[in-house]
């Protein structure tokens, strides 16, 4: 195990491109995400508790729960971190690919980098799979039966809903355009198991993806996307989210010199870690909620 949960939360930066880019999405999910700094602050914010002895007990129980590998919280953090770093790597490749298309002397990059849209679709679908698996690692499968479970999933809020908003905007809408869900669906449904096993992004997280082999795992990734696309399509239309609106909001926080959406997407991918950042916050919140109930 690398870091404890209090270190992970204490070390979340309170400024920088990730924080600014999340602030820029506040208009989509108003008040849900907060720039929380420090483990104690998070305990107070989650529980509303100000009694220091109680905060100490909650923190100690949360640390113990996190440190027990059997509880699954560490695996969830690993998934958020790994799926995030994959995004960064693919982002760099996608940016290089775009340069390759427009600058002739760099055209050799075409040969070693994937098409940007393909890289993006893989990045997106793997983040979706990681989100689903991490959810189960953190929360179990709560409720008696399917209806209660769907109610639990439908109650996404705080940093979790912000993560899905960022996934929608930064990994879908901006890089792939308004019909991003259809584009991703086309790509994902056309995959064969070999596409996945030869993909470095998939390889990094494959040990955590259920399915008992590449074919089953491909099925999991496809089903994962299918399970989220309806929700996400409705999220975009009901809130009237557009790429231009998001970029306009980003410009209030970050100096974006270029309006070309591909470059904005590549820039965000290479410079932000929203998936990891909000993932650590989600794990922290759930641990604290459980800890205060168990002490």
């Amino acid at each position: 195990m690398s870091q404890s949960i209090f270190e992970l939360i204490n070390e979340l930066p309170t400024s920088g491109v990730t924080v600014m880019s999340l602030k820029a999405l506040d208009y989509i999910v108003p008040g849900e995400w907060q720039n929380i700094s420090g483990f104690e602050n998070m305990i107070t914010l989650v529980t509303g508790e100000s009694d220091q002895a109680m905060i100490q007990q909650i923190g100690e129980r949360a640390i113990t729960l996190y440190n027990d590998p059997a509880e699954g919280y560490q695996r969830a953090v690993w998934l958020y971190q790994t799926a995030n770093s994959i995004g960064g790597k693919l982002g760099a490749a996608a940016l290089a690919n775009k340069i390759g298309e427009s600058v002739s002397f760099l055209s050799f990059l075409e040969k070693i980098t994937p098409k940007a849209d393909k890289a993006q679709a893989i990045d997106f679908s793997i983040k979706v799979a990681a989100e689903i698996i991490a959810y189960a690692k953190i929360n179990g499968i709560p409720g008696d039966g399917v209806a209660e479970f769907m109610g639990a999933v439908g109650d996404y809020g705080k940093e979790s809903i912000m993560r899905l908003a960022a996934l929608t905007c930064f990994d879908g809408l901006i890089p792939l355009g308004p019909d991003f869900l259809r584009k991703i669906e086309e790509f994902i449904s056309g995959l064969v198991p070999n596409d996945l096993t030869s993909n470095p992004a998939f390889s990094a997280v494959s040990s955590m993806i259920p399915g008992g082999g590449a074919e089953g795992q491909l099925g999991f990734v496809q089903q994962g996307f299918n399970s989220i696309k309806g929700w996400m399509g409705n999220f975009v239309s009901s809130k009237g989210i557009t790429a231009e609106g998001v970029v306009g909001s980003l410009k209030n926080y970050i100096d974006i010199a270029d309006d070309k959406l591909d470059y904005v997407a590549g820039f965000l991918d290479a410079t932000t870690n929203y998936f990891d950042y909000t993932g650590v916050q989600t794990v922290g919140r759930r641990l604290i909620e459980r800890a205060v109930a168990e002490i």
């Binding site: 070390e11 009694d51 640390i63 409720g143 168990e294």
Partner: protein, 175 residues
Amino acid sequence: MTMTKYLLRTALLLCVLFVSLTACKKEDPRWSEADKKSKEAIEAKKQAQESGALPKPEEGGSFNKFFPKNEPGFEMIASQEKTGFAEYKLKKDGKDLAMIAISDVANNPQAADKFKSSTKMIGGFPAVDQGSTATAVLVGGRFQVKVLSRDASFSKANREAWLQKVNLAGLAAMK
């Protein structure tokens, strides 16, 4: 040009090294000790459960049926379900009011200690208040049922009332 690039790279490398070194050295005295102790505690608990000195916790799913789910005007949303733990969120008009949790103290035996000095009973079981947001009962010496306020309007009296809506007798009869 080459020299500039070289210097730039060296500077970048130094930055990365500096950041990673400082990141590794960050200590938080309030939690570092607990972090170290927790690893021993996890191992000790595992061994105690394997030897039978400590009971194995019940499945969290086995607690679901004891939660109050049909209270008109209120919503109960399943929140977490782990070994020895199940938690629901109580909502009204879309607002979070409270969390209601059942936990098996086999997961955290010292949680039962505070009930030894309990001065009141709720639903026939020893009860305690914790901090400013929590009220709990210990059922059958084994299961802790706790209601946690998540909104200022949800008072201690509300917590006590909702504790009694949990099927405490059913939970006590479990096992």
